[in-house]
């Protein structure tokens, strides 16, 4: 088995054992869901329901606010309670609050569509846009945009991201085990939209059962190749994944489409099949609720808009020493302040760390060991960007290309001096990007 990889990166303890072997269970439904209108990159969706309106499961309640935006559907049936603004991770976000009637009545629009042979590529793309499918690997980029490459940049390779390089998280792993056929279905649909002949499914070698499951599901299709990848963070980073599978480099400042590639996460891929085959839009997903700060770690099917507190309760509550709440994985996820905010289409993990695991050592002086440089998958020199950023010498920081940073956090992870590398690089990156925008 040829294992492929990229340059740089770090070996992070996987910590996946907590949920890896646990079959996905269905999370009980919350009494109220809070569905944010901003679950994706791009313009927020616009609410199309009003307070007191009855809604059904799968009904469009928010319409895409532009081309780079996505529809949002109700994940339960019930009544709109109110529409208001909530501060979610520092951003004002419009939220539709729906009282669940627990009837699970599907909206009439939810019906199976035609088979793959009856649909043209652009039909499929239209359906994907309708379904409000966004990248479920974390960034939430509207899928139909990715599938609309400019004329002059034909796509010839499709890559499905099944790496799941984030420690702790196992949602993609479970999905690949439990829904391998749906994933292949979804992939076939998307290959048709951009008419590519070749697809890779990249999976880290620390998930041999997933590799096996996907290999057998893909066996009938010559065009689909399963690529075993080294278990190294950030193998799942889009640029790294593309490089590992194809040896192509996404140009600095460019997009995968520039080199003829589209990447989608396995959950995204499965969502495509869900809508076209079953008619079901993105209203639920697998989420790993895990970590040392939760009593019973689980993988669960959760509704979009479920308050985090509900997920926690479902897993028998926090431990006494829980200290940190992270949406996503420990490397790229966002720590959040409270449990009242809801889950979204991209919430693949809720990680709760206890006091000991959440402790980050004291920051001391940089010893110039160069580990951050070796670790950076993009070939940056985090030590210098950070040094100058912290001294507010953005002119000097800019010379070291902060804008190319993918914010993977490898550098901060590996730094023996516990320097706040990515954090300060982000500051520099923002600064530089803002300046460029002004000019």
């Amino acid at each position: 088995m040829e294992v492929r990889s990229f340059k740089g990166g770090v070996h992070v303890p996987h910590s996946k054992g907590l949920t890896e072997g646990k079959e996905t269970v269905v999370c009980s439904q919350p009494k109220t869901v809070f569905i944010p209108m901003r679950q994706h990159i791009g313009a927020p969706a616009k609410p199309v329901v009003a307070p007191k309106d009855p809604v059904k499961k799968g009904q469009v309640i928010g319409e895409a606010g532009g081309f780079v935006s996505a529809n949002i559907h109700s994940s339960v049936s019930g009544t709109v309670k109110k529409i208001h603004t909530m501060k979610i991770m520092g951003l004002d976000t419009t939220v539709i609050e729906i009282d669940n009637d627990f009837q699970e009545t599907w909206h009439e629009s939810v019906t199976p569509r035609a088979g793959i042979d009856q649909l043209s590529g652009s039909d499929i793309k239209g359906l994907i846009q309708e379904a409000g499918i966004v990248g479920m690997g974390g960034a939430g980029f509207p899928l139909h945009v990715k599938l609309s490459p400019p004329e002059n940049k034909p796509i010839d390779i499709f890559i499905v991201n099944g790496t799941e390089c984030e420690p702790y998280l196992t949602c993609d792993h479970r999905l690949m085990l439990e829904e391998s056929d749906q994933i292949i279905q979804g992939l076939l649909f998307m290959m048709k939209t951009v008419s590519v002949k070749k697809a890779y499914i990249g999976i880290e070698v620390n998930k041999p059962d997933a590799i096996d499951a996907m290999t057998s599901a893909a066996a009938p299709y010559d065009s689909i190749e399963i690529v075993p990848l080294a278990a190294k963070y950030p193998q799942g980073g889009e640029k790294q994944l593309i490089y590992a599978c194809t040896k192509r480099e996404v140009p600095s400042g460019g997009l995968p489409a520039d080199i003829g590639v589209v990447v989608a996460n396995v959950a995204t891929t499965k969502a495509v099949a869900d809508y076209i085959v079953l008619g079901q839009p993105v209203i639920e997903r697998i989420c790993s609720v895990t970590g040392s700060g939760i009593t019973t770690p689980k993988n669960m099917w959760i509704k979009v808009g479920t308050p985090l507190q509900h997920l926690i309760d479902e897993c028998d509550g926090l431990t006494n020493d829980s200290a940190k709440l992270i949406m996503g994985g420990p490397m790229m996820g966002n720590a959040v302040a409270g449990t009242e905010i809801p889950s979204t289409k991209t919430t693949g993990g809720l990680l709760i760390l206890n006091e000991a695991d959440a402790k980050i050592g004291e920051t001391v002086a940089c010893i110039k060991c160069g580990r951050c440089v070796s670790a950076c998958p993009v070939g940056l020199q985090p030590v210098y960007i950070s040094h100058f950023s912290l001294q507010d010498r953005m002119d000097l920081a800019e010379q070291y290309h902060p804008v190319d940073c993918i914010e993977c956090g490898s550098c901060s992870f590996i730094c023996p001096a516990n320097r706040p590398l990515v954090h300060s690089i982000r500051v520099a990156k923002r600064h530089v990007m803002e300046n460029r925008r002004k000019v």
């Binding site: 603004t85 520092g90 966002n334 959040v336 980050i360 912290l390 706040p420 982000r426």
Partner: protein, 338 residues
């Protein structure tokens, strides 16, 4: 003993070299002359050399060059009117009115009054904090108090007190460096003498605003009602003062229930008629918004100082300079903060 013959060669050669080089240099400097506007240097000399960028150019010299090329003479915020005049003199133009002096203002009184919603760990700078869910303050428009603005102010015009940044107006040169530095965008430029200011920019509504910060604007509109000059309005859930209309009468301050309006009450004045000057033209009485000036035509007028709000209108309107403003010393109205 002195051999004059021996002196010939040195003299000839040095003289030769001298004339050769002198000629060469003169020739070269004529032939290869490059015009360099000396006025740019002159202007640069009068500029304060703070190189703060307030003028919009990277460094004083670049501004000087720009002036020679036709840029206006009053762009230097640090130097103010005085420098503008000097620059104008060099350029041979009249100094355009350098405008009213503006100073920066941090529109937040939160700090220790504002609640933190989480324990922040990380780089102690406002910009870095702001990248982590907008920073630990529950209020999304609250000053983060790490003093990024203080760091960029070259003039020592910013101090941090009780967890909020505060501008020392006397030191502020109006360079706006802090305005650009603040990630919360809660610093704006206000007229230098302005005394009454809303120090809150939070436009949320609801009970949590009050819970998050005891000195937040809750959009109750009492100030709006109290203002007799149409100068303060609740716009998008937060009170905003129109400084061109504001008379610094501090009426709004007196009614604000949360203390998000800041004013130095010691500056409150009341009007008083200087009897010798008053000719009884009634202009003051006609203009007084509170109608606290009384008096007959051609009679000396009188101000009811308990009603006077110190808006200065009469003072400005009086054609005879017969109105004096005196400090309203009586502290009876000094406010008990909520």
């Amino acid at each position: 003993m002195i051999e004059f013959k021996e002196l010939v060669m040195p003299i000839v050669s040095m003289g030769g070299l001298g004339i050769a080089f002198g000629g060469l240099l003169a020739f070269a400097s004529q032939k290869f002359e490059v015009k360099n506007d000396p006025r740019a240097d002159e202007i640069n000399a009068v500029l304060p050399a703070a190189n703060c960028g307030g003028c919009g150019y990277p460094g004083c010299m670049n501004y000087a060059i720009a002036v020679v090329d036709g840029e206006e003479v009053n762009k230097c915020t640090v130097g103010g009117p005085k420098v503008a005049e000097q620059v104008a003199a060099i350029m041979g133009v009249d100094a355009v009115d350098a405008g009213d002096r503006k100073v920066a203002r941090v529109h937040c009184n939160g700090g220790v009054n504002a609640v933190d919603e989480y324990d922040y760990q990380g780089i102690l700078s406002c910009r870095a904090m702001n990248l982590v869910s907008g920073g630990p303050k529950a209020c999304k428009n609250g000053c983060l108090g790490c003093g990024d603005c203080q760091d960029v102010c070259q003039f020592g015009a910013i101090k941090l007190e009780n967890g909020v940044a505060e501008i020392i107006a006397e030191n502020c040169t109006g360079c706006q460096a802090c305005v650009k530095a603040c990630p919360k965008q809660i610093i704006t430029m206000i007229p230098a003498g302005q005394n009454t200011v809303v120090d809150c920019m939070n436009n949320e509504i609801g009970a949590h605003v009050k819970r998050n910060c005891t000195v937040a604007c809750i959009a109750c509109r009492r100030c709006e009602k109290a203002c007799r000059f149409d100068a303060i309005h609740v716009i998008n859930n937060v009170a905003v003062i129109d400084y061109s209309k504001c008379t610094d009468c501090m009426e709004c301050w007196e009614v604000c229930p949360t203390g998000c309006i800041t004013a130095n009450h010691e500056l409150k004045v009341v009007a008083e008629v200087i009897e010798e000057n008053c000719i009884g033209c009634t202009i003051c009485a006609k203009n007084c918004p509170t109608e606290c000036i009384s008096g007959e035509l051609k009679q000396v007028h009188k101000v009811d100082q308990t009603e006077c709000i110190g808006c200065r209108i009469c003072y400005e309107k009086c054609p005879k300079d017969a109105i004096a403003l005196i400090p309203k010393a009586s502290p009876e109205k000094l406010k008990e903060t909520a």
